[in-house]
């Protein structure tokens, strides 16, 4: 069969684009070699991590090479509203960032956050207790001590030793009321009246909303999650929250195969060859959406001789630095950070002369050149905004 669109990549950009198209009645297939960045990242929708002004205002001041600069701020805002209407329980917007504690006790700005994290908002200060559960990926005393230095914030850590389970096992156990009861009993004896309670982000998987509300009721106070090392439970919930409606809208999701080649003719992509278990199939479609991510996800590769490759369509790569590619200081912005696929106004990857390489190929998310997602705190925001915008344009073009 011929699909309307093949989306390559199951991160937030691919999921957003696929869901948006499927909702419009398009025949969509999303194919990815594995689950994407969702399972690694904290699931907050960071648009731009600016401390003192609104993300909306900062968006309008980005240089023209930045992928956000392809989009009017209203479109970014619309993508966020679209997202919030589909994934239950997200709060916030582009007017002002939340300031959430990280697992080391740094303060991180995020525009739109899961409701289970919103209670950790440090704006306005307050008293916070962070609860360790014996989890090797969460150190409440250390994180609390860093936060305690902030004006108007007092923070302390408590360690409740459960057992040495991984975060996934713990999350499953939280879905049973008896564990929550034990924890509530132990905590209620130790909490001051106006303290908010932070847990590592392991409060359930499938029934997380229920787990969180139940803990708030049992503890009679705001309860919140703090994202910690992968696997990311909030990210897994986000993946489910996006892929389920995608399937319901008729989209197919195939996780496992690798896209190894493209079939093209007359400036169009006709199909992509996917390989799994030594069998290859060609997926044909009228249009294609590349959302394979950057170097972290394997969408881009750098070889030992310094050549950078986009791995599916062998697209030209923009922003490749002259030497050096990396600087000796870790926390500096690295010359390679903004490398990616350059696109035209319609999010179609371009040749060096600025013309679209294929008239029916689009790209979104971390594959795009011009952004430094970790440094600027733009990762998921960029994925939602460009996934949404590119799908909108693709839809219009068909």
């Amino acid at each position: 069969m011929t699909y309307d669109t093949v989306v390559i990549g199951a991160g937030l950009a691919g999921l957003t684009a696929a869901l948006r198209l499927a909702e419009e009645g398009r025949q969509v297939i999303l194919v990815a070699k594995g689950v994407g960045s969702t399972h690694l990242a904290p699931a907050t929708i960071d648009v731009l991590a600016v401390d003192d002004k609104s993300p909306a205002e900062a968006l309008s001041k980005l240089p023209s090479e930045h992928p956000y600069a392809r989009l009017p701020v209203e479109v970014v805002a619309a993508s966020i509203e679209w997202f919030k209407a589909r994934v239950a329980g997200y709060r916030g917007g582009l007017h002002e960032n939340f300031l959430l504690p990280t697992a080391v006790g740094a303060v991180k700005p995020s525009a739109v956050v899961p409701e289970s994290m919103a209670g950790g908002d440090l704006r306005g200060g307050g008293r916070f207790v962070f609860v360790g559960l014996g989890l090797k990926d969460f150190y409440p005393a250390y994180l609390a001590e860093n936060l305690d230095q902030l004006a108007d914030v007092s923070a302390r850590g408590i360690e409740l030793t459960l057992s040495h389970e991984g975060s996934l096992d713990l999350a499953r156990r939280f879905e049973q009321a008896d564990l929550r009861e034990v924890i509530a009993r132990q905590l209620n004896a130790q909490l001051e009246p106006d303290e908010r309670v932070g847990f590592p982000a392991v409060l359930g998987l499938r029934h997380a909303a229920e787990v969180w509300r139940d803990l708030e009721e049992r503890l009679e106070r705001p309860v919140f999650e703090v994202a910690t090392l992968p696997p990311s439970l909030p990210g897994m919930r986000l993946y489910e929250a996006m892929s389920e409606p995608l399937r319901k809208a008729g989209g197919r999701v195939i996780i496992g195969p690798t896209v190894v080649a493209a079939e093209t003719s007359n400036g169009r992509v006709e199909g992509v060859v996917v390989e799994q278990a030594a069998r290859s199939t060609t997926l044909r479609a009228r249009s294609f959406m590349l959302a394979t991510g950057g170097f972290a996800s394997g969408g881009l590769q750098l070889d030992s001789r310094g050549r950078i490759r986009e791995t599916v369509f062998d697209l030209p790569v923009a922003g490749a630095p002259d030497r050096p590619r990396f600087l000796p200081t870790y926390l500096e912005e690295q010359p390679l950070d903004r490398v990616g696929v350059a696109v035209d106004e319609q999010f179609r990857p371009t040749d060096v002369d600025g013309n679209p390489r294929y008239e029916n190929l689009y790209a979104a998310g971390a594959t795009l050149a011009g952004a430094a997602p970790w440094r600027e705190g733009s990762g998921n925001g960029l994925s939602v905004a460009t996934g949404y915008a590119a799908a909108t344009i693709l839809e219009g073009a068909q």
Binding site: A103, V104, Y142, Q149, S304
Partner: protein, 515 residues
């Protein structure tokens, strides 16, 4: 100012200094060792891990070859727990003259290095990844040796014999009285406090820095720091030490050690042993040479690059550091310069560290006018009493009986929380890099991606660090890991580094931590 009295003061905490402090303590001397950083932080912790058979020097440097094979055999008896008995192969690749094999055989026989020519088919069966175009192959008793284990084994043994180890103590000056060296003024690098150490004899075992120390006594010791870079590949591409059968040159050896294989090395004369930059050209050269040994080398994942400074002793100026003998150099400053109370031991290599220590202490004994025999060639290091070599699977095997009971903090190196806490209490340090040298924390494929946050959280609690000190521990270890990763970032290791960025910058936001 605080002061202490000792008989022997050893300067330098590399393998040589650790060997000397053990040797001295075992001869019954009251002994103190000072090291400006951590033990094995210098050249000893930055080599490829080769326990030489001597084969490498059999043609060019027969004296060094003889020393190597003698010491190789002694260490197999006394430091077995630090050694993996990989064996070694010398192979003639298509780029090497097969006739050199005869010269090599002759050299080995003349220096006592056990050698045997085997068929190419046998060599390829043993090491299937080797270049299929090799024309000759020879076996020698090379092995790999864990330098940190070795140095800490010596240190523990020395402590058992009453020696005191002062790490992070830098020598500020050597004390002189009546034309003799009578001790040193040292500064605690962590607290800034100074300490005067009175000693009957000072042994300068500062390796590539030995010239700087000797100068404090007005003596000239011409040590040429020779920079060697190495790259650890994230796999055991080979399980035998592989050498090119030719005159020693750059990038001609591949050493399997622990979970990696290390290609080395270069030899460039540098002015300052503390300033060892790794250039792109050097990395390229290593990868190109790697291809000649193991085709597809460039496609394998490189884990980390580092550089060490060889201490090459040259009686006078030379142009090429490869021309300088790898054999060690002992300078008795009483004899040579009329400065009593000072002995310098430098040059050499980790393989011959014990012999160097013996030579230094023999000279020291002579200066002190006493005759006490060396016992280090017989008595095994703590942990090596059973005379069993370690194997690649040792850590897994030790863990297997209790798979569920202990949490693993560093998955790459199988470090449990219990072992980590023990090491932290024992080392009593805010510096995670010290813990790395003790346990190999953060040395695996993810280069600390998962364990650095955990280790910081645990260190914060075990050492009762305040938040700023804990932040500093985290950030400085991150930077230390980056230092070795950024010169070889490509392929899968770049992908890994990006995941680590995701964790540290995206998830944890460490760039926003107060410092």
């Amino acid at each position: 100012m605080a002061s202490l009295e000792t008989e022997v003061l050893v300067i330098g905490g590399g393998s040589t200094g650790a060997g000397v402090v053990r040797d001295a303590a075992m001869r019954g001397f009251k002994t103190v060792l000072v090291e400006r950083k951590d033990l094995a932080d210098g050249t000893t912790g930055r080599f490829h891990g080769l326990l030489h058979s001597g084969g490498r020097y059999a043609v060019r440097d027969p004296e060094a070859a003889k020393e190597c094979i003698e010491e190789n055999l002694i260490l197999r008896r006394t430091a077995a727990d630090c050694i993996e008995d990989t064996g070694g192969l010398f192979v003639s690749t298509p780029w090497d003259d097969p006739a050199f094999g005869d010269t090599f055989l002759e050299g080995c026989r003349a220096t006592g290095v056990p050698v045997e020519e085997i068929s190419v088919a046998e060599a390829l069966q043993r090491e299937p990844r080797l270049h299929p175009g090799i024309s000759r192959a020879f076996t020698v008793p090379d092995a790999s040796i864990d330098a940190w284990k070795l140095v800490w084994g010596c240190a523990r043994s020395a402590q058992e014999h009453g020696a005191e180890m002062l790490i992070y103590h830098r020598v500020v000056r050597l004390e002189r009285s009546d034309g003799r060296v009578s001790g040193a003024l040292v500064r605690d690098e962590l607290t800034g406090r100074e300490l005067r150490i009175h000693a009957d004899v000072v042994v300068n075992a500062a390796g590539a820095w030995a010239g700087q120390i000797a100068e404090l006594a007005g003596c000239r010791v011409n040590v040429l720091p020779g920079k060697g870079i190495m790259i650890a590949m994230n796999h055991r591409l080979v399980n035998t030490v592989i050498n090119r059968c030719k005159m020693p040159a750059d990038g001609d050896i591949l050493v399997p050690i622990r979970t990696v294989s290390v290609i080395g090395t270069t030899d460039t004369r540098v002015a300052d042993p503390d300033d060892l930059e790794i250039t792109e050209a050097e990395v390229e050269e290593m990868l190109d040479e790697g291809e000649k040994l193991v085709p597809g080398f460039r496609e394998a994942r490189a884990l980390r690059a580092w550089a060490g400074a060889r201490p090459l002793f040259a009686p006078e100026e030379v142009a090429d550091t490869r021309e300088v003998s790898r054999s060690h150099a002992l300078v008795d400053h009483r004899e040579r310069d009329g400065v009593e109370g000072l002995v310098t031991i430098t040059g050499g290599k980790t393989t011959t560290f014990r012999l160097m220590a013996e030579a230094a202490m023999d000279a020291a004994c002579e200066q002190l006018g006493v005759d006490r025999p060396c016992r280090t060639a017989e008595e095994p290091l703590p942990g090596s009493e059973a005379r069993e070599f370690y194997t690649l699977g040792s850590r897994v095997r030790a863990r297997e009986p209790v798979p569920q009971l202990q949490e693993i903090i560093c998955e790459c190196e199988l470090i449990t929380r219990e072992r980590l806490e023990e090491a932290m209490e024992w080392r009593h340090t805010p510096n995670l890099d010290d813990i790395r040298r003790t346990l190999r924390l953060g040395m695996g494929p993810c280069q600390g991606g998962f364990c650095i946050y955990r280790a910081t959280g645990i260190l914060h609690s075990v050492e009762r660090l305040d938040h700023l000190a804990a932040n500093e521990s985290l950030l400085s270890f991150l930077q230390e890991r980056w230092k070795g990763v950024h010169p070889i970032l490509y392929g899968d290791q770049l992908r890994q580094a990006r995941l680590d960025d995701w964790i540290f910058q995206g998830l944890l936001g460490v760039q926003r931590l107060p410092t």
